[in-house]
């Protein structure tokens, strides 16, 4: 069994390393060839305002990566996600999604705490405790029904909550739409994930890559219809994805900032304002 795992795991890692090296090379080539976007002439204030608002000075380079990603998606990820949807029944996919979400709770909790959001941290902790036990290792999301809904969060949002600006839009190889802040966040989230550090045994490597692979399949499967729809209806899909990504992140940041639920239990004597807030909830 162990030998089997080793033979399948090692080539995958090597292959991925090769893909990365190729992407890096392609990226450098793209940067050299495409460069930066030309700002519109200063005598057209509307165009200048739009250029600033879009915040995409590296647009030509980003578009090259968008095309590369789009190509990879068309031949690899999209068919894989379609196959996944075809082969695996809906309830099983939901179970897999729930397990993956549950495995992400340590990172989520760490970010909730760093964001200074005790109620969110409480939700995350309760979700982990309930879903890991009653929900059978996270397969069933019991916690949502018990009043502990899930929320998306990551270190990019933590930085946003600390007031770090998003920076220029980036379209990254493999990872897709991003910006310097969220790209750093992505790296920090991998670093603060306990599963990254469970040791370098073959089993751990296989576990982690299986998890990354399933995560990619799961999220791509969930976006199959919306992405197809956007590609069909948008005149410039790149610009549409850029707009959606930036608005979505801004919306998440706002929701995070506005989430100031009281931490005092309902039965505890409360300040009038808090009591009113609890009543209105």
């Amino acid at each position: 069994m162990n030998a089997d795992l080793r033979t399948t795991a090692v080539p995958t890692v090597v292959l991925l390393a090769r893909v990365w090296r190729f992407m890096l090379f392609a990226g450098l080539l793209a940067v050299v060839m495409a460069g930066c976007a030309t700002p519109p002439p200063a005598d057209d204030p509307d165009a200048v305002a739009e250029f600033k608002q879009t915040n995409d000075p590296l647009e030509p380079t980003n578009r090259v990566f968008y095309d590369i990603n789009n190509g990879l998606d068309t031949v690899i990820l999209r068919p894989a996600a379609q196959g996944y949807r075809f082969v695996v029944p809906g309830p099983v996919r939901t179970g897999i999604h729930n397990v993956l979400t549950n495995l992400n709770t340590p990172v989520q909790l760490s970010n909730d705490v760093m964001q200074g959001k005790p109620r969110r941290a409480g939700d995350t902790t309760m979700r982990f405790l309930i879903n890991t036990t009653v929900g059978v290792a996270g397969i069933f999301d019991v916690a949502t029904g018990w009043g502990y809904p899930n929320h998306d969060t990551d270190f990019g949002l933590t930085l946003a909550n600390w007031g770090v600006p998003e920076g220029p839009f980036l379209f990254l190889p493999v990872l897709g739409p991003s910006n310097p802040r969220d790209a750093v966040g992505f790296g920090v989230d991998i670093a603060q994930d306990p599963f990254t550090w469970v040791g370098n045994s073959t089993a751990a490597t296989v576990f982690n890559w299986t998890r990354y692979g399933l995560n990619a399949l799961d999220s791509r499967e969930r976006y199959l219809d919306p992405v197809d729809q956007i590609k069909k209806t948008a005149l410039d899909p790149y610009a549409t994805f850029r707009s959606l990504y930036r608005q979505h992140r801004q919306g998440d940041t706002k929701a995070l900032r506005d989430d100031n639920r009281a931490t005092i239990p309902v039965w505890f004597p409360q300040a009038p304002a808090d009591a009113a807030a609890v009543r209105n909830r």
Partner: protein, 200 residues
């Protein structure tokens, strides 16, 4: 002294107004909620009754015309290019925008069979009522959708739909703006591209 009394009188005069404002806002909010409720019932009912895309387009067209500010949306989506477009271009663009919008909404709704909409509260933002709702459909996490309703008091119309923090009209505007920027800011080319979409 006189001035102070005037000030006081003016203040007293304004008091009923001040108390009336929240009440007015409340009724506007309620009106907006009722409007979204009846419109969504109509749309979901039409979706259930009809089967083919062509049939849906026919039934949904009038509902969309009645409940959405289509001309205003068209204008917003063209953004700064609206001013540089000729009246003829504006007219042709608005006509084709109309058809594209109905097509897109029909296709989008087609994805969401057995959808359930729970309407929440409304809050005023400037002159617009933002009605919040939660959209649920099987095997997907619930989505929060906000409906921006203008003129709630007299002639309510939806002017934007904000799904999970992403505004539909803003996304559309940025799509068109990017297309135009890469096509010599030529509105005719945009109209052609939109027509192209319709034939697909």
């Amino acid at each position: 002294m006189f001035e102070r009394r005037m000030f006081l009188l003016a203040g007293l005069g304004a008091m009923p107004l001040l108390t009336a404002v929240p009440a007015l806002a409340d009724t506007n909010g309620d009106r907006a909620i009722a409007f979204i409720k009846s419109t969504s019932d109509m749309i979901l009912g039409a979706m259930r009754r009809t089967g083919s895309t062509e049939e849906r387009r026919k039934v949904l067209g009038p509902i969309i015309d009645k409940s959405l500010d289509v001309d205003g949306l068209a204008r917003f989506c063209l953004g700064r290019f609206w001013r540089t477009a000729t009246p003829d271009q504006q007219q042709r663009y608005t006509a084709v925008f109309h058809q594209v919008l109905i097509g897109n909404i029909t296709a989008k709704l087609g994805e969401y069979q057995d959808v359930r909409l729970t309407i929440g509260r409304s809050k005023s933002q400037d002159d617009v009522e933002m009605v919040s709702s939660v959209v649920e459909h099987p095997n997907n996490p619930p989505t929060t959708v906000e409906w921006a309703v203008a003129d709630a008091a007299s002639d309510p119309k939806v002017i934007d739909v904000v799904a999970e923090g992403t505004s539909l009209r803003l996304t559309q505007r940025q799509d068109y703006a990017s297309y135009l920027t890469h096509n010599d800011s030529n509105v005719d080319k945009l109209i052609d591209a939109m027509r192209q979409q319709l034939t697909q």
